[in-house]
Assembly symmetry: C2
Homo-oligomer: 440 residues x 2
Amino acid sequence: MDQEPKLHFNLFLFTAGHHSAAWRHPDSALERLGDISYYQELAKISERGLLDAVFFADGHSVPPVAQGARWFLEPLTTLSAIAAVTENIGLISTVSSTFYTPFHAARFAASLDHISGGRVGINVVTSMWDAEARNHNREAMPAAAERYARAEEFIQVMTGLWDSWADDAIVADRQGLWADPDKVRPINHQGEHFLVDGPLTVPRSPQGKPVLIQAGASEDGRNLAAQWAEAIYAVAFDLKAGQDYYRDVKSRIAKAGRNPDATAILPGLVTYIGSTEAEARAKKAELDALLPVQHSLRELGLFIGQDCSDWDVDAPIPDLPSLEEVTVPKGRYGTILRMIEVDTVDGKRPLVRQVLGRLAAGGGHCTMIGTPEQVADEIETWFRNEGADGFNLMPPMLPNSLEDFIDHVIPILQKRGLFRTEYEGKTLRSHFGLEQPVMV
Amino acid sequence: MDQEPKLHFNLFLFTAGHHSAAWRHPDSALERLGDISYYQELAKISERGLLDAVFFADGHSVPPVAQGARWFLEPLTTLSAIAAVTENIGLISTVSSTFYTPFHAARFAASLDHISGGRVGINVVTSMWDAEARNHNREAMPAAAERYARAEEFIQVMTGLWDSWADDAIVADRQGLWADPDKVRPINHQGEHFLVDGPLTVPRSPQGKPVLIQAGASEDGRNLAAQWAEAIYAVAFDLKAGQDYYRDVKSRIAKAGRNPDATAILPGLVTYIGSTEAEARAKKAELDALLPVQHSLRELGLFIGQDCSDWDVDAPIPDLPSLEEVTVPKGRYGTILRMIEVDTVDGKRPLVRQVLGRLAAGGGHCTMIGTPEQVADEIETWFRNEGADGFNLMPPMLPNSLEDFIDHVIPILQKRGLFRTEYEGKTLRSHFGLEQPVMV
């Protein structure tokens, strides 16, 4: 193993790309959003670039469909079909602890870990919308505190089930035992939210336990991540915000008694790359021009928890309530407040249109625009200054923004010794430099 | 479309094969039970034989592990990885209506239907063991009547969700709508067991609705199958039992106002095939000799609901309670009673060992032993005499018992005009001769 830390990159796979108008572009893969070969191709491009993993977010309700697809294929089935045509790249699925039982989640993840030869990560989320709850037998979403309490117990049970088969439980002795009954153990969990006897129906998987990823921005989310996460997705629109989050969460990890260096923090990253800075900016402008203003205002309204559909996009953005006053998810809301703060020059608040532009691709995640060298420089700055251990790539348009990154930025980072030049192992744990758990 | 009815064949994929001692055989795939390439190869063999589908049963608890694996990989993830390396063969997963929410089930199935280009079937089961309930937040399994009431509502909601996107909901107009909001509709279901607003997150899939399969043997199961099933798995150890079931269920389908010819009834079928009858019998004896008697007695005990671990295997089997007196699942129990009845000669009850032998492979399903011609003859007899519309193949050992069938029996049935000589379509609906649902 190389001792010098290296960058980690995930591809966040999302419809036609992370720019909300990407699907309107003439070159978009609009007609292929339900076609598995599209996602398989994107995973192969990512594997060609030696990325750590591809990753799917997930949701359990349908947002308004006029302005583009948010969801299409289900992540676990999609990743399994990707596993079948790739060799090395990690496969990360989002799983809702509010809507799955931990037995289902543990079983899907362990099965996919076998199918992929040890490449699975699970991004546990608590979900947030009432519309999602109302597809799974609940009138409304439980409050955040209850969701996080359930998530904590969910992870305990899920990892307990992964540990229910010892590494050497399967004996496979044709004249004797198939498996040693003493090494396949119930967990007999009876908690606040779950009753689960175990053991899991799926024997110990190649990674021992699939990798646990978390994306918490709230207080509860950060604490859950500090305690459990082996990699963390973050939202940080500039280096300062990235550093604040990075230092805060790394110190929480240390306080939880874990090694902060072992858990990679990966902010989302939107990149527009051109052979000149002007070409890169033109790529962004081309997508921004496709943006339907009314829809963008509605989306902003969702994030800030108020109707702003009649706002004048060419006027300064009105005052917004403080973080403490709102009931919407605080991670994204806080980012919007900081965007306004940073774009406020000499007391002049930014125009509504400027905020919409920032939100259109990645919704407030870091955006880098420039030549491959410029983007590599920025990445190196974040990496060397406690801003990030790597990034969760959110290409504004797929596949071309991804290919720009893979073909032009990755080679520079490799030359600088900041990124792997070959896969050193076959598992996601190995890509992330994580230890293989042992269960005897 | 060919008007003359043809046979339908599913491969029931199960560990090293359906004979419970198959894994002990020197040629078994024992080391590959967690290896997706094993299942992919079996699916490709089945596709070479033009079978309608491969099928996975499912369970949510671990039976004693000493005497062999029952479960390993999870079916939906497995079928998705199989979809990625096959072109035509149908992919049928069991889904428990007791442990899944209908939204999860509808979503997985629709996603897999997209991934496979329209090859998915869902075998809805109600599950039966308390040990399974205790992995999903229940102290014990609900009573059969409650399970079936839930199953009925489950299927209503699942099919409703599949119908929540019209066939032409996606407009994909780069200058206008991605999808027409009037054609993506909530279902607003509020029933006894489920609250589900919908619509589904997955747009209308290639088959419109994945194919619904049922395997009910009980009164409740038969009625559910009559009302919903587009194909039915049956248990029938001889032609008489097959005919009884076939005629009963076909008449129930007619009474439910559906076309009985459109729903294929597929009894399980265990085959031992040799170039002579003696060679076929030798193949069976070779597996039977590997059978651990104590374990087989324990399994029998589960099926009949009493401890028989100290029974003398060389003594006649004791009297058993009538079907009405027992609380175990009645389908399999009734078959065991009929096995004993049929094997009772001149008032002499069969030996316990004879019953164990019948149960060892397929647990009381029809067993055919002989040359390819003999097996083809028996199949034709069932097919022409209201015993079966085809069979759910349960090869005692995989892959060799399957290859015997594919390479030697299928060609005979093709020559007789009883089985397809090429796939006539790409979807499971097309293989089963089912209509494509329309939703405007």
